[in-house]
Symmetry: C2
Subunit: 567 residues, 2 copies
């Protein structure tokens, strides 16, 4: 641990290295470490960016578009079947230059390399984060290769109706993924996104919530004899998942003779799955070095593999791998994840944006914003630097979004006329019909262009309003514009392109975390609630009168007990 620190310290203070003697270097390093945050904001480039921000802030994108016919060409590029247009941002070429310099000063290059070579980038848990290893098919570690071979065999068995020994018996038609967080969002989102490739024989269901309504709604519509439950939990002790698994077991017992043929497990702790009653050869491995929110590439993707078949699943991995190579090898100026990361930092740290919107214009990507919510907010929703000091700058944004056309009829009002700057990624598919594409482009243009009071006034006059009325209405109809957006255009929603899209955001988030100097791979903030849970559960279950809970928690507990007694 200590060794690791000193490397970081020397790296962060290398600018002093050539001007000071060794003793001073050590002194500066110690002061940096013990008294202040070795933060982003001390970098010279950060100061330059602050000055640059003051120049950019009053300028309008629209005038840049009017004066520079090449702006789209300058600020867009393509990677395979994925186009990024970032020209509708409040940036000039100087902005990108400075932001790329900031990334360099923050040692992004080294940190990208650290990720890929298996450096323990997750320092608090002393682990590497090697999800990229799961999609580098030519260089699979043996254990990964073996695991995917087992998944392939398993998938084929189900596809060829060879799961039950007695072929006269039932076949599996319903796959039920039981998991929560990363073990839920990944399988659900990808399975929905690629549902046009689903094997027609299978239906896939997802159970995450501990609320029985969720479980019962699924159990009501499946045939127990034809059902396969995938119990997905890295620790095999996630309270929600195991509670649901136990309930399923109790329910299933009455319907099937061979209980164990209806369960498989995905876990890093096979012995617990065995204890639950799942045969060893129906347990698929997870690894310590894959975080829950990066686990769709591992056995957690089992339900996806079953639904779309193994060839498609491998194409999904290949797409992500292509993005890995691009991220690792491209110069920052033409590096899609890095550009997205830097634009985020530009708005978060300079324009004080606290949100980022994800707006897919495709029903198939309906739950993609939910997926990114976890990926981004759990990774970068932190204010503690790698060294354990508090960051003195904003970090991870709040992420949300819905399918875009629905959003237009819901909350876009705030984007256009509300008080907040809310950068957004519009995600389009080349296969969509023209009305949908036109809708998205109208919105990004409206966000950029806005409507001046004069325009609105003239419109009202043309509609024969009196000058007084036009004056009043036009102030309400003025849209300030100058609101930034990115457009990501995928030719088609193939497994390959979906893999690339997810990896794009994974790396965007890693690059931001690296520049913010935070650990994007732990999640200590969620532990406290889990710790408190048992205490509170005990108080609910027992008739305690002495409580050490705060008055609010105690009051609500008593209220709940009273309500329950009325039922």
């Amino acid at each position: 641990m200590t060794t690791y620190y000193s490397i970081e310290i020397v790296a962060a203070t290398s600018e002093y290295y050539f001007t000071l003697d060794l003793k001073s270097v050590i002194l500066v390093a110690l002061i940096n470490y013990f008294l202040t945050d070795m933060s982003l904001t001390q970098l010279n480039t950060y100061t330059s960016l602050l000055q640059h921000y003051a120049e950019i802030k009053p300028l309008r994108m629209q005038s840049w578009f009017e004066n520079d016919p090449m702006r789209y060409d300058t600020f867009s590029f393509q990677l395979g079947e994925l186009l990024l247009d970032y020209s509708k941002n409040r940036i000039t070429e100087e902005t990108i230059k400075l932001l790329c310099q900031l990334a360099k000063d923050a040692h992004l290059e080294k940190k990208i390399n650290d990720l890929f070579v298996g450096h323990p980038v997750n320092t608090t848990e002393k682990r590497a984060a090697l999800h990229t290893k799961l999609r580098d098919r030519k260089n699979f570690p043996l254990e990964v290769k073996t695991c995917f071979e087992r998944i392939k065999l398993f998938t084929e068995k189900l596809h060829h109706q060879q799961w039950f020994d007695n072929s006269n018996e039932n076949e599996i038609t319903d796959i039920i993924n039981v998991g929560i967080g990363g073990s839920h969002l990944g399988p659900m989102m990808t399975t929905e996104a690629l549902s046009h490739l689903s094997h027609p024989k299978f239906r896939c269901h997802f159970i995450s919530n501990i609320d029985e309504t969720h479980l019962n709604a699924v159990l009501k519509i499946i045939n127990p004899k034809k059902s396969l439950f995938i119990i997905s939990s890295k620790s095999f002790s996630t309270i929600e998942t195991i509670t649901n698994a136990k309930k399923i077991k109790t329910w299933l017992k009455d319907f099937v003779p061979n209980l164990e043929k209806h369960f498989v497990a995905v876990t890093a702790v096979p012995e617990k799955a065995i204890a639950f009653g799942i045969p060893e050869d129906q347990i698929f491995k997870m690894w310590d070095w894959v975080g829950g929110r990066y686990s769709i590439w591992s056995s957690v993707g089992l339900s996806l593999a079953l639904m779309i078949g193994m060839d498609n699943f491998f194409a999904f991995l290949d797409g992500a791998h292509a993005m890995d190579v691009h991220f690792r090898e491209s110069p920052f100026e033409k590096n899609m994840p890095v550009i997205l990361a830097l634009l985020g930092i530009w708005y978060i740290n300079f324009f004080n944006a606290s949100n980022h919107l994800i707006l897919p214009y495709a029903e198939a990507l309906n739950t993609f914003p939910l997926y990114l919510q976890q990926l981004d907010m759990e990774s970068n929703g932190k204010s503690i630097s790698m060294e354990g000091t508090n960051t003195n700058y904003a970090t991870g944004p709040l992420i949300f979004g819905v399918q875009g056309v629905n959003g237009q009829h819901s909350f876009y009002q705030l984007l256009h006329q509300g008080p907040h700057l809310v950068p957004a990624d519009f995600i389009l598919l080349g296969t969509q019909d023209e009305m949908l594409i036109a809708s998205a482009l109208s919105q990004t243009q409206a966000l950029m262009r806005g409507k001046s009071k004069q325009e609105a006034f003239q419109e009202m006059i043309n509609k024969n309003f009196t000058s007084d009325e036009a004056e009043f209405l036009s102030s309400h109809q003025t849209v300030p514009g100058n609101k930034p957006s990115n457009t990501l255009f995928l030719n088609r929603l193939t497994p390959y392109n979906l893999g690339a899209l997810i990896a794009l955001y994974e790396h965007k988030i890693y690059a931001q975390g690296a520049i913010w100097n935070i650990n994007s791979f732990d999640q200590w903030g969620v532990e406290l609630g889990k710790q408190i849970l048992n205490d509170i559960l005990k108080e609910i279950q027992q008739d305690e009168t002495n409580s050490n809970q705060d008055a609010s928690t105690y009051g609500l507990l008593m209220h709940y007990k009273k309500m329950r007694s009325l039922v």
Copy 2:
């Protein structure tokens, strides 16, 4: 219009009225109106609140709980089967007193009355907003009474399988609601929330998006002969809804002999529905004085009425009406919508929060956050005062949320350790099992209490970490706490309680809009995108080479055309 202004000006400057002569009053009013924003921030109470904020900011809720055993009793109250606990907020009794005074100074009392008596509170569209009239069953206007009687008859016909003249014919089993925005979110959310009361014969489906995937997924699973499509559009010209309706008509033609028996319409423009081919007696009226996002109480609730039956639907209206009476008659200090509104203003305008989270701990309320997203962001996502000047203070927040247990495993990390203050409403049901309730209470306690570095350090030492390691880990495990939340506890999810819950948020939003002095009932920000749409659509459809679009829009259009030509 002009008369209305002058009243507002005198009202807003009444504080000068007693110290200045009439000439000065007029002068001040004119200056206020023409040069500056007659804003919230000029009120004396606002200044007092700024001072108060400076005192409150460094204080911790936890110490208030430790020193005041009555804090829960002071800051919680019940209305029917709905309990609000707002004691886990960064407030003292002084805060509430000042905030209530702010509401009084901003003429909230008068504005609440304006809403109920039918004053044209939507000034830009010169309309009243009379959704409250739709749930005051004892005082229904004749047209409303007639409309609900028709809905009742219609519902009973379907429930008793008397829809088709020839009783040997098919009966209706699938209700498909086709609408978007308010015509979609309300029916979808309420139908899901009350699905435990659904008539077992009916299934309900929802089509909103123009993406054909959405439509096709529904058409695939229904029997056309047993389907009833509700085309819901106030103007009957909403482009997404009408496009979908036309596609359905084309599809249906091949399957059924009596096309018109499979469509009903909900609209304010019946002649357009007739032109579409829907018989007059199958058209249900909407009114100008009901906004789309407040329309679930009107004929837009038809699908809900069909699913849960008319008695339950009336109970839903009654619950909302009870909240109306409470909102109109209760003193601010014990007025649930007003208290929620003021807490929002406290965080938005003083703590600079830009988000508000909605976290229902119930699968049945899964889409409630989506519903509130529209209700809140479309109502208050505005920066233009009633008088047409720019507000110089923050207004409507960004709203999002998911079912709470899923959220815990997704984005709660950011709530606990992220850089942003994100106030949240936790919504609980007394009927939920103890694990779910304990989960929610653990989170609100963790948000309030946090974990000090000392606690985390001691935990690590107890786990036999070295002092160096404990030092490092504990900085990462520190949770600052002092994060506010409200808890709304419903005894049960009945139609009555759901009605009250929705009305609670409607009035919270109205009260905030009133204090911010904005028009919560228009939505001019979304018009611009609609205007641009036709232009862009034309460019896609034609082979134009001359374009007056910006380079980004033009580039993306060309890219799309190229992709399409490859298909």
